[in-house]
Each structure stands twice: as C-alpha cells, then as structure tokens.
C-alpha cells in the first residue's frame, strides 16, 4: 500500500530509539564490530585446518559419564554457579556417539575398564579425554587396592589431567578450557586412529592363567588383561 501519509503510531508506546536506528541505518547489524575489525574487506584468509581447529575448540560436546565421587563435582560444574556452558563446552550428551570429549571422573576398577574402553571406542574421531581427579592419574587413594587400575591411562589415552581428590569445579573448568586452547591451537592431535581396541581372548599370549580360563571364556569374547605386577 502506497501512501504519502506515513503510518502514524503512538510514539509513547514504542522504543523510538531502536526504530530510529533502524530507519537511519545506524544500527545496521551488518556493520558489526567484528566487521569493523576486519576493515573494508568482509573476508578472512586463514588455513582450513586452523579454522577447523578453532571450530572444534569452541564447541565441545561432553559425554555425560559419571563414575565415582568426582562426578558429583562434575555435575556441579555443569550446573548453576559454575556453568561450564559459558566456555562453549557445557552440553553433556548421553550417547558417546554424539560426544567429542570424555571426562573420566573417578576410579577405574577391573570390571569397569573394558566397558570404559568400549565407550571410548564408540566416540567418533576426533575425540579428547580429560582425566578428572587423582584416581585417573595413578589410582589416587585407592592405588594399593587389589581391584583398582593404576590410572585411566592404562586403558585409554588422556589429553589433560586435572589433579585433586576431588578437584574443585573451578579446577575442572580450567582443565577443560586448557583442552579447548590446545585443540584450537592444533596442539592436541585431533585425528589419530589409536590402536586401543579390546583384544579377543584368542589374541592373548598363552600362559598359565589363559590356559586355566580357556574352558570358561570363548575364543572370540572381548577381554582385558591386567598385569598388576607391572603396574606402576
């Protein structure tokens, strides 16, 4: 509808500043501060993998993975007050197939280690691991335990260790942000195919123990062998 008469409205009812800015083009959203920073050119020249690393580091999807005491502090890190989402990494995913980062929050014991490795294997590449707490470093206070794996690194590779028993949420935030920095700078090798798959029982070297268990375990069953004597 064309008319000489402008559409008149009750000025007192609207925020006139915003409207004025729109009409005169001052607040043009295309004239953003980012664009000002670029100068006259709307283009950025960068290396593709540098850009990709920046994307990866800025949007981390966490695996919702609770093991032991540290997972309570991990929940506090996700929730109000500490709010990990502020740093672009606070979306816990229930499925490992949707996650980039696994925080290992607790003690790994013999029964759980194969399951954890399975979960790790189910995550798509590139994937990163943050070890939370002393247990994932060395077994922590339970290091002497007969059933405890002396550090998560015996099972899966770990990018960042956050020490503490348990670490405070602030420490975990720091660890995650450090990981983001490393990923963005291309320091944590993003795509590597790591030879960390579970062995089948028939792959194990024959010895006394394997012979003894031969009638209990099928040849194609996935197993994990612990040599506690060689553990640190």
């Amino acid at each position: 509808m064309s008319s000489d008469q402008p559409f008149i409205t009750d000025e007192s009812q609207v925020v006139t500043e915003t409207r004025d800015a729109r009409m005169t083009g001052q607040g043009d959203r295309f004239n953003s501060r980012l664009r000002e920073a670029f100068g006259s050119s709307p283009f950025i020249l960068t290396k593709f993998d540098k850009f990709l690393n920046w994307c990866r580091g800025s949007s981390m999807f966490m695996l919702q993975f609770g093991i032991a005491c540290c997972s309570i502090e991990m929940m506090h890190t996700y929730a109000v007050k500490h709010d990990l989402d502020r740093f672009g990494s606070g979306v816990p995913r229930a499925s490992p197939r949707q996650a980039d980062v696994m925080i290992v929050p607790g003690t790994i014991v013999s029964k759980f280690a194969p399951r954890m490795k399975r979960v790790y294997d189910q995550m798509p590449e590139p994937k990163f691991v943050v070890g939370m707490g002393s247990c994932t470093i060395s077994g922590g206070p339970f290091q002497e335990g007969y059933n405890v794996i002396k550090g998560a690194e015996e099972v899966i590779p770990i990018d960042i260790h956050v020490p503490g028993c348990p670490p405070r949420p602030e420490a975990l935030v720091y660890g995650v942000v450090k990981l983001q920095e490393r990923v963005a700078n291309g320091e944590a090798a993003p795509v590597t195919v790591k030879p960390y798959e579970l062995e089948e029982f028939s792959d194990l070297e024959r010895d006394e123990l394997v012979d003894k268990l031969a009638d209990q375990i099928d040849d194609d069953e996935l197993v994990m062998r612990y040599n506690f004597a060689d553990s640190p």
């Binding site: 309570i72 929730a79 109000v80 014991v109 013999s110 335990g145 579970l198 123990l209 003894k212």
Partner: protein, 554 residues
C-alpha cells in the same frame, strides 16, 4: 488360619538377657563369643537356618544387618549380626565357624532374603561357600577373577583377565515356545539413569519387565582392604568420605568414629558432639537435595529446572560445610575423640550464614513442592508405582528413607542414640505409601527435620561458654585395641543404617574391617519393586531408592 495368636508375636518385643537367648537356642549353641555390642553365640555351620529361624520367629530378631566373613589362622568365620526393627539396641551375633580346608556353611537366605547378596559377597571376597544358596557366584569382582582377595594367601600381583560378555537372555530357556518373545536389555553400566556405574540386566516382555537383576561391582575400590591397611588413629578417616560421596561425608565419618571410639573406649566431649550433629545434618540436607534433583531428572528429562534449583541449594549448604571443614566434598573433619578444629572465626559470621540458609530453606522446600510433588505428570509417574511392602522391606534389610517410605519406623538417630540427637527436639519421618512418591516425600520432610536439628545446634553453640569449648578428647597417639575384641556399630547415614564391623588383633590396624552399606541392602529390593511393572517405572524405582554406587560396591 488359626485364630490363636502365635506366641512369637507377644515374645517379639520382650528384651531377653543373653542367658535367656542361650536357653532358647538350647543345643544349637556350641560356645559363647561375645562382642562389645552384643552377645555372640557360636553354632555349627549346618544349623544356621534353624538358629536364625528360631531367633527371628520366637525372639523377634527380624533385622539381619550384615553378614561379615573373615579368615583366621585356623578357620573361616561368618558372623550374622541380628537386630530388631523395633529396638535396634537389642542385638545378637551368630558366629559360624567353617573348616579351614573346605569352608562350607549353610546359607541363611531361606530365612532372611537379604543374606543372598551378603553371602555372595563373602564368597567373592573371602571364599566361604554357602550350601543351599540359590545363586552362589561372584558379585563384586569379574566372574573370571582368580582367588579371593581378602583371604590370607591372596597374591595381589597376580595377573587377572576381565571379560566384556555379550549377555544371554536368562529367561530364554524357560520360554522355549514360539509365542514368547522376551527381549534382553542392558541398562548401564554407563547410563545416565543408573546414577553411576550400575548395570541392570533386564528382560522385557513387551513394555513390561519380566525380570531385572542388578549387576554391581563396577566401582569396587577395595575399600575394606584400604581400611585394613590403615592405622586407626588417622589413616582410615579419609576413606569413609568416599563411600557415600554425595556430600554425605560427615555421616560416614561418624560411622567409623562411633565404631572405633566404642572399641577404644573414647569419650567424646559434648561440644564436639554438637558440632558433629550439626555438620552431619548439613550433609544429610546436601545428600537429599541431590537425591531429589536426580530423581526428578529420572522421572522426566524436562525437570532440568528442578535439578538446577536443587544444585543451587546444595551449593549453599556446601559453602557452609566448606567454611566448617575446609573442603567441599571430602571433608575429613572428624577425628577419633572429636573433630579436627573448632568452628571458623569469626563465629558470628558462620552462625549468621547458617541462619540465612535455614531461613530460606522453607521457601525452597515450598518451591520443590510446587515444581514436582504437586505436578500432575510427576504424581502419575510415582504414586502407586514401585511399591515395597513393609514386610518385604524388612526381609531385605532395607533401612533409611526406603524403609521409612514403607512405614517402617526405624531411625538409628532416635532408636540407638548417639551424638547429641537425644537431647534435641525433632521427629522421625515415615510415610505409609511404600511407593516412589512416599520415598521422595520422606526425603523432603527429612530435610525440614534436619533444618530443625541444625537450628537447635546453632542455638546451643552460640551460647556455649568460651572456656568449655573442648573439641577433642585425650586420645593416645597410637591406638591398639585388645586382641580379639569385636564390635559392630551403626549410625543413620543419608541412605540408612551405615555400620562398621571391626575386629582388633592387638596391633594398630584392624584385622577385619567390614562396611555394612545401606545402599547394598536397599538395592537388593529393586526386583521386588520392578518385576511386572513398566520399564519407566524401573527407572523411577531405582531413582527413588537413591543408591550411590560408591557405597554399594565399596
């Protein structure tokens, strides 16, 4: 049914002297082996069921707290710690020695259902075999484990192999006809609704649960071994914090403190008892808040707001605990004979912070009632689902909010008083529904009771004369309780009766340290609640049990 009331009903409440119990058991008793907390009767390993049945039906000992097993130089031994739900101070221990070369003992499972898991654990860790047990296999360690780790000749350095089995359908062979098509479903060990690393082997018939079997041991951190290799005085206290790690640290520390103090005959100053009581109730609030938060999430993923609200309240109470103890989660604040330090200075600031927290708490609780308990969706999901009748709860040894949600009026803070609880004015909360909703209500009302206790403690502490603030009794640097003294002591943890059995051997370390975890017994009731229900109700029932796997597996 006979109209005559059986004698046992009248006899149940009567307190009997040890000699009367011995007379009741008659020839069954071979010897006496008294513990510090209870008279102990030695019986032959093939009369376990008869003895326990007599005590349960004729003397009213209806609560099998725990079965603790151990190996001696010349024999194996299982101890059945019995109590009464009506009066837990009436205790009796049944000691069952078994042959060193061939340790076999009769199972108590037909008398007390809860013995099932306890005896499986004893078999797993110690190596005693139980005759007549329905399903004797390992419970905490992988099936393929070699040796029994708490037995004497165990070699910690030997290699082990754990498997990742693809599970078979356990009902398949019973349903061979073509019409049945049950489905096997693994829930966990990595699953958001299992509150940690619990594995539920579930068999579904359509949407209904035909069978569910909890598979535990994914967080078995050898806690008992750790305690047995630490000295009484200082080295054990940090570990209880890590059993029930949902901020319930002080409640757990109290379990160890109470057992060890009674064992070494240490009197705790009154001032320290008040501080302990206050700290412990703060922990209970924090623990129940998380139970509420995660339960709401289990019921419906849209209750994220409730989760955030509850975490917010937890942060508040954790700040208070941090001021008091110096740590957010693993407090390590109790010492044998008292606490490690006095209230933080300036005291007035701490008191006013605590009062601020208590003042806003009723408002928060009101908010939770608005958000969840009065929510129609929530009510539909929780009322009349996951029903646990009181008799079943007792048979499984359930305690804490789970038992109180089924109308079992059992709370050790009142029934077997310790600390400063019997001087304060508060109530034990029970609900008669026995369903998921009742258990939640019990927790929410307990939060209010805890607030009442804290308030009274703050009043007491504020007026405490400055020169009588004694936080620590005189305790020898090294504790060496007498050889062969045994004690079982329990406190009311966040999840129920948390007990410790200690046998001293004259050294500065316990010879046997057994943890009676409330969650271990509570979790055992899950099949009773879940079988025949729909699968979302299993998740709701599990959430309402509020198990914490660090305590189940230890």
């Amino acid at each position: 049914m006979s109209l005559e009331r059986p004698d046992s009903v009248d006899d149940a409440a009567v307190e009997r002297t040890p000699d009367e119990i011995e007379a009741l058991l008659g020839d069954l008793v071979v010897d006496r082996d008294d513990h510090l907390n209870a008279p102990g009767f030695v019986i032959r390993p093939d009369t376990v069921q008869e003895t326990l049945r007599t005590l349960k039906e004729q003397a009213g000992y209806d609560h099998l707290s725990v079965v603790s097993a151990q190996e001696y130089e010349n024999r194996y031994e299982s101890i059945y710690h019995l109590k009464k739900y009506d009066d837990p101070t009436q205790e009796v221990s049944i000691v069952v020695p078994a042959d060193k070369d061939h340790p076999v003992s009769e199972s108590a499972e037909p008398v007390f259902r809860t013995a099932d898991w306890h005896e499986r654990e004893a078999y797993d860790l110690i190596g005693i075999e139980y005759d007549d047990h329905p399903d004797l296999r390992r419970i905490l360690l992988p099936e393929t484990w070699q040796g029994h780790p708490l037995s004497m000749d165990y070699d910690k350095d030997r290699p082990q192999i754990a498997t990742l089995p693809a599970h078979a359908n356990p009902l398949e062979e019973h349903h061979k006809d073509a019409e049945s098509d049950t489905m096997f479903l693994n829930i966990g060990p990595h699953h958001p609704a299992t509150h940690g690393v619990l594995h539920l082997k579930t068999v579904l018939d359509g949407e209904q649960v035909a069978d569910v079997e909890p598979d535990i041991g994914y967080l078995h951190r050898s806690e008992e071994q750790m305690a047995q290799s630490g000295t009484y005085r200082h080295q054990i206290m940090p570990y209880p914090d890590r059993w029930d790690y949902i901020s319930a640290g002080l409640l757990n520390e109290w379990a160890y403190a109470r057992a060890a103090e009674d064992l070494a005959d240490i009197e705790v100053p009154e001032y320290a008892q008040v501080i302990r009581t206050m700290g412990a109730e703060m922990c209970r609030i924090a623990a129940h808040m998380l139970a509420l938060a995660t339960f709401a999430l289990d019921i419906n993923g849209d209750f994220t707001a409730t989760f955030m609200y509850a975490i917010n309240d937890r942060e508040r109470v954790q700040n208070l605990l941090e001021d008091l103890t110096g740590q957010r989660l693993m407090f390590n604040y109790f010492r044998l004979g008292g606490v490690v330090w006095d209230l933080p200075e300036p005291r007035e600031e701490f008191f006013s912070k605590t009062r601020d927290f208590l003042d806003q708490l009723p408002e928060s609780v009101e908010e939770y009632h608005n958000l969840i308990t009065s929510n129609e969706v929530f009510q539909m999901r929780t009322i009349d689902t996951g029903i646990l009748p009181p008799e079943v709860a007792k048979n499984y040894g359930a305690t804490g909010p789970v038992a109180r949600g089924s109308g079992v009026d059992y709370d050790l803070r009142r029934d077997d008083p310790y600390g400063y609880y019997d001087e304060l004015d508060w109530d034990v909360v029970t609900e008669d529904g026995g369903d998921n909703f009742s258990r939640l209500l019990v927790r929410m009302r307990e939060v209010e009771e805890s607030a009442k206790i804290i308030e009274q403690c703050v009043d007491l502490l504020e007026d405490w004369p400055e020169d009588e603030r004694n936080i620590q009794a005189n305790v020898p640097r090294t504790l060496r309780p007498d050889d062969d003294t045994e004690i079982y002591r329990a406190v009311e943890g966040a999840k129920g009766e948390l007990g410790i059995y200690i046998r001293a051997d004259g050294t500065d370390k316990p010879a046997r340290f057994k943890i009676r975890s409330p969650c271990f017994s509570n979790l055992q009731t899950l099949p009773e609640m879940a079988n025949g229900e729909y699968i979302p109700d299993v998740i709701a029932a599990l959430g309402s049990l509020d198990v914490v796997l660090g305590e189940v597996d230890r």
